[in-house]
């Protein structure tokens, strides 16, 4: 395992592209990440040499494809330290994983008056499926509030979790970058008799993930934020819980037997994988896991802590009170995802001006409108850093912001 920022950047072909004669400063990885040559090649090579249906046909080519597909599952299991590859269910993305849980586990286990606890940090993907269940079943939602610096306020956690059936929370906020104390939250959930669901969409691409050390029950994340392709995501769950859940989508692959009067389900993980999956994308996710594993996730976290600290420091030194970075200031409890307000300029206008310098940031509500309302804003600008970014990208952001203040004059 080794991490050399300059070498990492060379692995990503998109950075060979120039727009208007200048390189791309990609600071939108919390949205979706760029893809390394290793992932692109793995997918291309699989299509050129090994593509065939999986789990269906007896010829050698299909056997190879199935082996490659299942190898990707094993890689993912090792990456998050799952007890078994059977605990890894492939979905479309983290959103589908969370919907699967609300639909399948939720409908089997929750009825009117049952309590589901969420936090004010959540992405819509960990809110709306529960809202839908609330409308259908009359479940009760409770919310863990935030401290002034955007961390979870755990003062009343025990009371909030009293009699709860589910505690579903993010491991890292996609808006504030806040990293939550996942292990502590899982313990609190279990102490209250609730299951612990972790939305790892922002955390898993940037940190060492160990579902057993956490003591979590379920984990959802997406491939496309961790150097893999879009269209493939993961639901990890403890085998005992997945076994007890009814299936989600019905169809091919998820059955043991089908008769005119009914069906029986396949064992895990096929039970939750109806229909032909995103085969090529799964191969790509496996290659992404290999790529990140070779870098070492502890190294990735270290790189982003340094880079995040540098970005916060330089932005603050240059602009003082004109810039306000939302969320924790202590890099130990945050990732390198920086939402900020700048000089009263609307994030859309900021993003537009930054784009003139090829600086790509997200402007908007980041699919977290309840959090936006709590922050008292309709939108923020967000710069998010990843393995291929370095200090020059932070410098480019800092410099480009100056041209925004020139246009909007303050």
């Amino acid at each position: 395992m080794s991490f050399d920022g300059a070498l990492v950047r060379k692995d990503f072909p998109i950075f060979e592209r120039f727009i208007d004669g200048a390189p791309i400063v990609y600071l939108d990885s919390a949205n979706t990440s760029q893809k390394p040559r290793q992932v692109i090649d793995a997918m291309t090579s699989f299509m050129e040499n090994s593509y065939a249906p999986i789990n269906r046909s007896a010829y050698r080519l299909a056997g190879e494809a199935t082996d490659a597909f299942e190898a990707a599952r094993s890689k993912v299991a090792r990456f998050i330290n799952a007890r078994s590859a059977d605990e890894v269910v492939f979905t479309k993305n983290a959103t589908e994983s969370l919907n699967l849980l609300a639909y399948s586990w939720g409908r089997a286990n929750l009825s009117s008056g049952d309590v589901v606890v969420l936090t004010h940090l959540e992405h819509h993907a960990n809110i709306v499926p529960w809202h839908m269940l609330q409308a259908e079943r009359g479940i009760v939602l409770r919310w863990v509030p935030l401290t002034a610096d955007g961390q979870l306020d755990l003062t009343d956690l025990t009371a909030l979790l009293a009699d709860a059936k589910v505690f579903s929370f993010t491991a890292m906020s996609n808006v504030l970058g806040t990293i939550t104390p996942v292990q502590q939250l899982c313990e609190a959930a279990h102490a209250a008799g609730a299951i612990a669901i972790v939305d790892g969409c922002q955390y898993v691409p940037h940190n060492v993930t160990d579902v057993q050390a956490w003591g979590a029950d379920f984990l959802a994340f997406s491939s496309h934020k961790m150097c893999g392709p879009s269209g493939i995501g993961v639901l990890w769950g403890r085998e005992q819980l997945l076994d007890a859940m009814p299936p989600f989508l019905g169809g091919g692959n998820m059955i043991a037997d089908v008769r005119l009067d009914g069906f029986t389900t396949a064992p895990l993980p096929a039970k939750f994988e109806a229909g032909t999956p995103a085969i090529i994308e799964t191969i790509g996710l496996g290659a992404a896991v290999d790529y990140l594993s070779n870098l070492g996730m502890a190294n990735v976290r270290e790189h982003e802590m340094q880079l995040g600290s540098y970005a916060i420091r330089t932005l603050t030194e240059r602009y003082g009170n004109d810039i306000s970075i939302h969320g924790p200031t202590d890099i130990a409890v945050r990732g390198a995802t920086l939402s900020f307000a700048f000089a009263g300029i609307h994030p859309h206008d900021l993003s537009q001006v930054l784009d003139q310098r090829n600086v790509c940031v997200r402007a908007g509500h980041h699919c977290a409108k309840p959090l936006m309302r709590l922050l008292g804003v309709s939108a923020t600008a967000r710069a998010s850093f990843y393995i291929y970014n370095d200090e020059s990208d932070a410098d480019a952001l800092v410099d480009a912001l100056a041209s925004a203040s020139d246009i909007f004059g303050f």
Binding site: H346, H348, D349, Q356, A363, G364, A379, I407
Partner: protein, 160 residues
């Protein structure tokens, strides 16, 4: 890439910094609310129509320079106009934004009565400054938010 001067014309920034007709109107004025789900911008349009004429219009909400300046200029342009003329102006603006008139029936910005579509004699005045938005397709939704909301407000007016 087109320059930012095409987008952030001085008159746009002026309307952004000093928006006209900000505020609310009490009933019987109608109220409509528009959202841009992409970015979280929101706008409220209050419309007071008396005898088929826009007696007063007020706007509240938050948004970027393009959406707020478009709303501000729109409010100036429609105040005192007959509803029929406002509808013609909406179509004229729509046309300037490059929105296909042929798609009008499926688009919320459409005006589905006998109003003459995009009559060339309809004067856009200051609104012409928003022409540059077309070169930045992502921002067209910002520019049209107020107009969509105005259209919804007009639909709320009794006997309009």
């Amino acid at each position: 890439m087109p320059g930012l001067d095409d987008l952030y014309r001085e008159i746009i920034l002026d309307h952004y910094r000093s928006p006209r007709n900000r505020g609310e109107l009490a009933p019987p004025a109608v109220r409509a609310e528009g959202h841009n789900p992409l970015c979280g911008d929101e706008i409220q349009v209050y419309l007071d129509v008396v005898d088929g004429v826009v007696n007063d219009i007020k706007i509240t909400g938050s948004g970027c320079s393009i959406s707020l300046s478009s709303a501000s200029m729109m409010s100036q342009a429609v105040k005192g106009k007959k509803i029929a003329d406002v509808k013609a102006l909406v179509n004229r603006f729509r046309s300037m934004m490059g929105l296909d008139i042929a798609d009008a029936e499926t688009d919320v910005l459409s005006i589905d009565d006998d109003t003459e579509v995009a009559a060339p004699e309809v004067k856009l005045g200051d609104l012409e400054a928003l022409q540059g938005v077309v070169k930045f397709p992502v921002r067209i939704k910002c520019a049209t938010l107020a107009w969509i909301t105005l259209t919804q407000a007009m639909a709320e007016v009794p006997n309009a």
